[in-house]
């Protein structure tokens, strides 16, 4: 009988203890967690070095503009983000190996449950430097593909 009483107390305590921890997670965090688990996130990285050439600035600028133009919602809700990273900084050198970088590059990486599942080098950005619309469309198409793949 005492054993049953002890078990009931333990179970009751454990239920009460678990309630506050759930309540402390905000609705936004819950939403984010669900989204990360179900739909994942897409990261757009523009990698450059200390030396910045004219075309390198153009690629960075067009990439940012295309992403902000076509994916404002996804940028807001965290499904997509854009980062500019200098691979000449010692802490970023690992990206050279991670994404097999051989020049300034725009990389689209897909993450699910906190793990990277796919990535692609948008190497044709170099071909579209002189055609802003073609550049935008290329970035748009590739990011749409990545978002659909989530």
């Amino acid at each position: 009988m005492n054993r049953i009483k002890f078990l009931i107390i333990v179970l009751t305590l454990s239920v009460f203890c678990s309630i506050p921890s759930t309540q402390f997670i905000s609705a936004k965090e819950m939403n984010q967690n669900v989204q990360n688990k179900d739909t994942g996130t897409v990261m757009a990285y523009y990698f450059h070095g200390n030396f910045r050439c004219y075309n390198c600035f153009t690629i960075e600028q067009y990439s940012k503009e295309a992403i902000e133009k076509y994916f404002p919602e996804q940028l807001k809700n965290g499904r997509l983000s854009f980062s500019v990273i200098n691979t000449d900084m010692p802490e970023n050198e690992h990206f050279i190996k991670d994404y097999q970088l051989y020049t300034r590059s725009l990389i689209i990486a897909e993450f699910k449950n906190g793990k990277q599942v796919r990535w692609a080098n948008l190497a044709k950005v170099w071909d579209y430097i002189k055609d802003r619309d073609a550049f935008y469309n290329y970035v748009k198409t590739e990011i749409e593909k990545a978002l659909k793949g989530m």
Partner: protein
């Protein structure tokens, strides 16, 4: 250009695209001035241009072989060449320019080398073009790295051609520079001949070459060592 039907021409086209790109413009200007330095001898200008192109061909071919045979890792090699070679290039160009102008003097055991070195560098007009071609070929800038590592190397691998394609690409990068240098040299020489002052023109061309080397060397030091944004 259809790369599947005429792949060798694609390699040549990629080389031409590399040389007309604004990114390696500074090194191309230095190359043109170096090639046409001996414009008193027309055959020297042409031979110098050919050797410069051969230097580029050699640089890209050796690199192409090492990369396609996986002896060198593409990302690390590309990163190393873009960063270190350009840092090395600046001081080399400045020192060469100073010697060409005869401004760089140093003595060793009471003996001045400046005259000897300057004279040797002037005579190096032909032979010096070859190492200059190799050096400039391996000093990758972002757009030439994109064309070489991103387009040329995959093309070579697809066609199982680790020597021919990089060689043709190298020729493509050197040809516009060679043609430009020869055309300018002929033009200047003819103008000089018109006024019967070829020797004077030739003297100034050498001085201008030295000055161009120093200016471009300073540009490389500022942009690749101090990372100043100039263009």
């Amino acid at each position: 250009m259809d790369s599947s039907s005429i792949p060798v021409l694609s390699a040549l086209w990629l080389g031409i695209l590399t040389s007309v790109n604004p990114c390696p413009l500074a090194s191309n200007i230095a190359a043109v001035s170096f090639i046409m330095k001996r414009l008193d001898q027309t055959s020297s200008v042409f031979a110098s241009g050919l050797l410069y192109t051969l230097g580029r061909v050699t640089g890209y071919t050796v690199l192409g072989i090492l990369v396609t045979s996986s002896l060198l890792n593409v990302p690390q090699t590309a990163h190393f060449l873009q960063k270190n070679m350009n840092q090395f290039l600046g001081p080399v160009l400045i020192v060469t320019g100073l010697f060409l102008l005869g401004l760089f003097q140093f003595t060793f055991s009471g003996f001045s080398f400046s005259e000897k070195v300057a004279g040797r560098l002037n005579n190096l007009g032909i032979m010096g073009s070859f190492p200059l071609g190799v050096l400039f070929a391996l000093s990758f800038c972002p757009s030439s790295a994109a064309l070489f590592f991103g387009s040329l190397i995959p093309l070579s691998l697809n066609h199982n051609s680790p020597i021919l394609f990089p060689s043709v690409y190298g020729a493509g990068t050197g040809l516009p520079v060679l043609m430009f240098a020869v055309a300018i040299a002929f033009g200047i020489k003819n103008i000089g001949a018109l006024f019967n002052k070829v020797t004077l023109v030739e003297y100034w061309t050498r001085k201008i070459t030295g000055a161009i080397f120093i200016i471009i060397g300073i540009y490389y030091v500022l942009t690749h060592i101090f990372y100043l944004q100039i263009l």
